[in-house]
């Protein structure tokens, strides 16, 4: 939603897609009033793969920038006990988002322009005991985005991978996050808008997460497996 606000403030018309899109009526009005742009609502379920073609066809106008912010943190412990839970996490963070961006990519390719933005996560940079189901799904999504970027690089279509650290959203509500490492959604939105303008490939928000990831990825596995982080 923060990204929608940011893009609307730059004058872009907005298409909001979600499950139960009608629950976004108030947000639609809010964005229209604040930024004087048109906002349309579209029913969308990332898990209903066979609807994705129809969804894009039904958009009316194909967007210039498509941002996929679908994700599900889930509960790691439950995911270890119940394969259904694990599967839902993987499908919500990888299969669904990859599918919809794949469909959009084909449409963008035909048109010859557009920017695809996928919000993945630093959690996908190395699997950890506390959230590796979510992390591995994000790792898959990150790899998918990288491949997509590679495929479309010469076709005038840009792919941006966004790797946020901790962000204060509904997903992390109630978790005890370190305040200094936690950013606001509006910061992520600013970073995304900026990166779209500059055609950046991969961005970390906030920047310290680049360093943290850099270090974490370089810890030898023999040592890493004993750590609790």
């Amino acid at each position: 939603m923060a990204v929608a606000h940011k893009l609307a403030s730059m004058g872009h018309p907005i298409q909001l897609a979600a499950r139960g899109a009608n629950s976004l009526l108030a947000d639609k009005t809010n964005i229209e009033l604040r930024y004087n742009v048109t906002v349309t609502l579209h029913e969308f379920d990332a898990l209903a793969l066979d609807t994705h073609d129809a969804f894009v066809a039904g958009l009316g106008e194909l967007p210039q920038i498509a941002v996929c912010a679908v994700g599900l943190l889930g509960d790691q412990y439950q995911a270890e006990q119940d394969v259904q839970v694990a599967s839902l996490i993987v499908r919500s963070n990888f299969e669904g988002p990859a599918s919809i961006l794949g469909v959009l990519a084909n449409h963008f390719e035909k048109r010859g322009s557009g920017i695809l933005v996928g919000i993945s996560s630093v959690a996908g940079e190395r699997g950890r005991a506390t959230n590796y189901v979510y992390g591995s799904a994000k790792a898959g999504f990150t790899a998918f985005l990288s491949g997509l970027r590679n495929r479309l690089a010469r076709k005038g279509i840009h792919v941006l991978t966004v790797l946020p650290g901790f962000v204060a959203t509904r997903m992390t509500e109630g978790l005890d996050l370190p305040a200094t490492l936690t950013t606001q959604p509006s910061r992520v939105a600013e970073a995304i808008a900026h990166a779209c303008k500059r055609k950046k490939n991969v961005i970390y928000v906030g920047r310290v997460w680049w360093l943290i990831t850099f270090v974490i990825r370089r810890i030898p596995e023999a040592l890493f497996k004993r750590l609790r982080i």
Partner: protein
């Protein structure tokens, strides 16, 4: 989490919640012993803090509707006044009443019934409020307005969050032809000259005075009286008239750390005052100033509250009835000048008549002074309290962080009635702030 108001004093450990919907809000409200709403934390003291549960409204910040003909905006309580300006000034609308910072929420503006530089002419924030939706102790949402539960409406405006949590409200905006202000400055050599300027210029839409608190004796109360009008299109040079709402984006300065408190010794304050006065005194003629610099000069320095250092600061704001104003103000300024702890900001403003149950303004003059918190200034403030009592003035709760329950009752006979209304409506057990506890409200 440690919470404070804008003055960063007092600091209180409190649990905060940021509900995302009316239902969220109700769940939290009903599950806590007592709660208080918090907007953007621009009240100076402890009015938006409850150790048990402080309910932030930052996620309840959607605009709901706008009527192009009447200028009526319906919005959720967490919407900032600055967002309203950003959205509607380009379409020719501006808030009817605005405080000296745009970083306040609609809920905070209503709860403090804030005043602007146009109070003498157009009254407090209530002037532009059509109705309010408020959640009471039972979690139910009630609409109140000028003709629907008028009592609740009246007490909510100025009720400092103690009558419930404001969810949304309808306010009317003012139509303007440009984002520019015609500003006229009058240098007044002393207090009576300043008061006279206010009286002579009472037809100006906006008026406010900045007082040099270090001046004493003959110069006591020397000030710059600053008047303003929204500029009409026909009053703009053609370069500005082409894009009447355009404003250059200003650099924002941020104060990244706490200044050591030694920084604000009496000499630096005196120097600041002198420079301001000298440079101001030359600009007697009319100037065009953009809306942001005119209404919100302090907003361009983000976190300016940090210049007062880690211990924080306090703002002393009182109002005297018209007949007592000159005497009361003189007594205060003399006390401040002799104590030698000059204040960075001293603002004087004429209030017009006001008819309301618990709002701050009354017809007369209001004075606001900032002080860093230390033993000396706290002692001074207590002396000033007595002056306010003696001259029948009262205090602005949105700025207060230190007066006692006795002082409040000695200055505001309405406090007891406010308490009994709260009791009768079952509000006193559910809604409480650190300030309300201190003041036994």
């Amino acid at each position: 989490m440690k919470l404070s108001g804008w003055g960063r004093y007092p600091l209180i450990e409190a649990s905060t919640y940021a509900p995302r919907s009316e239902d969220d809000l109700r769940d939290i409200l009903l599950s806590k012993k007592s709660v208080i709403a918090r907007g953007n934390g621009r009240a100076y003291g402890d009015s938006a803090i409850n150790a048990d549960a402080t309910l932030e409204t930052r996620c309840l910040n959607r605009m709901i509707s706008f009527d192009q003909t009447s200028g009526q905006l319906v919005a959720e309580a967490g919407v900032l006044l600055g967002d309203i300006v950003a959205a509607f000034l380009p379409r020719g609308w501006f808030p009817m009443v605005t405080p000296g910072t745009k970083f306040v929420t609609l809920g905070g503006a209503i709860a403090a019934d804030v005043h602007g530089k146009n109070h003498h002419k157009e009254g407090s924030f209530r002037t532009c409020v059509d109705w309010i939706d408020i959640m009471g102790s039972d979690g139910e949402v009630h609409r109140c307005s000028w003709d629907e539960d008028r009592d609740l409406f009246d007490y909510t405006l100025g009720g400092m969050g103690l009558t419930g949590v404001i969810l949304r409200a309808a306010i009317r905006l003012r139509s303007v032809e440009s984002g520019w202000m015609r500003q006229r400055t009058i240098a007044a050599p002393n207090l009576s000259a300043a008061l006279e300027a206010f009286e002579v210029e009472k037809n100006a839409t906006y008026s406010v005075a900045w007082i040099d608190c270090c001046a004493s004796n003959r110069n006591l109360g020397r000030s710059l009286v600053i008047l303003g009008e929204h500029a009409k299109l026909s009053e703009l040079p053609s370069s500005k008239a082409k894009e009447p709402f355009h404003k250059k984006t200003k650099w924002k300065i941020s104060i990244p750390f706490d200044f050591p408190s030694i920084f604000l010794n009496r000499f630096s304050v005196r120097a600041f005052n002198n420079i301001y006065y000298q440079s101001g005194a030359k600009k007697i003629d009319v100037r065009l100033v953009d809306w942001d610099s005119y209404f919100y000069p302090l907003d361009s320095v983000l976190n300016w509250n940090r210049i007062y250092g880690r211990k924080g600061f306090s703002q002393f704001q009182c109002v005297f009835p018209l007949e007592q104003s000159e005497a009361g103000l003189t007594a205060i300024l003399e006390e401040v000048a002799s104590a030698g702890c000059g204040s960075f900001l001293a603002v004087l403003k004429r209030f017009g008549p006001q008819d309301s149950s618990f709002s701050f303004p009354m017809e007369g003059y209001t004075l606001a002074l900032d002080f860093p918190i230390n033993d000396k200034t706290l002692r001074l403030a207590e002396k000033l309290d007595q002056i306010v009592i003696d001259f029948k003035g009262r205090f602005y709760l949105a700025k207060d962080s230190r007066i006692s329950a006795q002082t409040l009752r000695a200055t505001d006979v309405r406090a007891d009635k406010f308490c009994s209304v709260r009791n009768a409506r079952g509000l006193s057990t559910r809604f409480a702030s650190a300030q309300a506890d201190r003041l036994v409200l």
